[in-house]
């Protein structure tokens, strides 16, 4: 069924991604890939270290050609674009896309190409419009498009842009996304 969960976040994302993953029921064992915008000079393992404190699953900074495994959380390394191939990751240092590297659009587009309707894309808080085109690509290929409710988001530009770009399957407060994913990934499997 669903094979990959992609999360994109920018301003305010450090906390939002942590909360989302801390709430995510352990039965949801799809690999989770996170593209979070950071300053290129930020500590290279900063985000992964922070997440490890809150998340019970293995959290890794992606390396080139790393295989994608169930139950793991993968973080796009700062200053690289993260792309998904079937079964593994690829990195690139192509120029920034909409001022961002990693670019959420690049991650989501490549993921939707590799996994089609097996992708769940989630756009969280952020102060730019990265991710909107990527989420639309996920949706176009039959994947699921989820967006954090702009009202509760620390910055609403990014969720607003995502909602404008595609017909989201659900717009949810942060604290409900984990449970929603549980329903999506487990209940459908039973039926």
């Amino acid at each position: 069924m669903y094979e990959l969960i992609c999360v994109g976040a920018s301003w305010g994302g450090l906390d939002a991604v942590g909360r989302l993953l801390a709430d995510l029921p352990i039965q949801v064992d799809q690999p989770v890939v996170v593209a979070q915008h950071r300053h290129s000079t930020s500590a290279p393992t900063g985000l992964a270290d922070l997440l490890r404190l809150r998340v019970k699953r293995p959290v890794q900074d992606v390396e080139d050609k790393m295989p994608i495994e169930r139950g793991h959380v993968y973080i796009a390394p700062p200053d690289y674009h993260l792309l998904v191939e079937r079964g593994s990751f690829a990195l690139s240092v192509d120029e920034r896309v909409q001022y961002a590297r990693p670019s959420i659009d690049v991650l989501f587009e490549s993921a939707s190409y590799a996994y089609g309707r097996g992708v769940i894309g989630i756009i969280l808080t952020g102060a730019n419009e990265d991710g909107a085109a990527g989420l639309a690509a996920v949706k176009r290929r039959g994947g699921v498009a989820l967006v954090q409710d702009p009202h509760g988001a620390e910055r609403r530009t990014m969720p607003d842009a995502a909602i404008a770009a595609t017909a989201a399957d659900a717009v949810l407060p942060l604290e409900e996304i984990g449970r929603f994913l549980y329903g999506l990934c487990l209940e459908r499997e039973v039926s």
Binding site: D64, Y80, L83, E109, R117, R140, G142
Partner: protein, 283 residues
């Protein structure tokens, strides 16, 4: 309805994949440029970008234009050539080179260093500065290669954008630089002209990692952020090339997010500094 749309999208993607394969084969047979084993996800983005810029809506249509119009091929080549680089990129890498590689170099009467995929040369000038400050430059020769002639010309010229000097100075300091960075260049109207003496012992030459062979035996090979553009099979072949080109106890330096771990040569190297991707050939 929705399911039908998905199936159509999936079908389009399958066709797209066939078209991309055919285009790369065509480009290879018509022009000799071999991108057939480059990592597909990034390649596909680039090719589509060219298709959109040319105003065509399928990769096959782009292929048609490419095969009949060499100027279009030139434009695609520019799109496919990713030359992003910086001086003292990843400063901690240069610290590790100072602390762990330079002591090895001191034990040799002469060292040969290969910087593969050197792009416009920023990495080469950085390395030269480091070796100079450590007093081992005199006894070293750097072979700096790239597939792309035009970046090599810029590397030879050694003029880098002035507006980058702030960032590079920061990097240089973090990399353990021992002088004022501005000693190494002259600020001119068209950029920062780096000292010619830095490239006195550097040979710039074209070399294609896909098809060209080894051309010497080296004590150090630096290949950073180049192999990320290759697929696994090509990476493995390039790893063989590097392995064959390294002297025993020579050092292989990869990019910050590349690892020897996913290659068949893993067992032939020992970690010199696993964090900074420095590996020593031991068997």
């Amino acid at each position: 309805m929705a399911a039908k749309a998905d199936e159509q999208a999936a079908e389009r993607d399958d066709v797209d994949e066939i078209e991309l394969g055919l285009l790369l084969e065509g480009v290879y047979r018509r022009y000799g440029f071999d991108f057939r084993e480059y990592a597909p996800a990034s390649l596909r983005r680039r090719v589509w970008r060219r298709a959109h810029a040319e105003g065509v809506s399928t990769i096959s249509a782009l292929q048609d234009r490419l095969l009949h119009d060499p100027a279009c091929m030139e434009r695609l080549l520019l799109d496919l050539s990713i030359n992003v680089t910086a001086m003292f990129r990843d400063p901690t890498f240069y610290v590790a080179v100072r602390e762990k590689v330079v002591p090895l170099l001191r034990t040799y009467p002469f060292t040969r260093i290969w910087v593969a995929g050197c792009s416009t040369g920023e990495e080469v000038y950085s390395l030269a500065i480091l070796l100079l400050e450590e007093g081992v430059y005199e006894r070293a020769r750097i072979y700096a290669t790239d597939i792309n002639e035009s970046v090599l010309d810029r590397a030879r010229a050694g003029v880098f954008p002035l507006d980058k000097m702030r960032e590079y100075t920061q990097n240089y300091i973090k990399a353990g630089g021992q002088r004022a960075f501005s000693e190494y260049y002259l600020a001119k109207y068209d950029g920062a002209q780096f000292q010619r003496s830095l490239v006195e012992n550097v040979v710039f030459a074209q070399h294609n990692l896909v098809s060209d062979r080894s051309f010497n035996e080296f004590n150090v090979i630096v290949c950073r952020n180049v192999m990320i553009y290759f697929d696994r099979a090509l990476q493995d072949r390039v790893h063989r090339l590097f392995y064959d080109s390294l002297a025993m106890f020579g050092v292989l330096a990869l990019g910050a997010k590349e690892s020897i771990r996913f290659s068949p040569f893993e067992d032939r190297y020992e970690d010199l500094d696993a964090n900074e991707r420095l590996y020593k050939k031991v068997s």
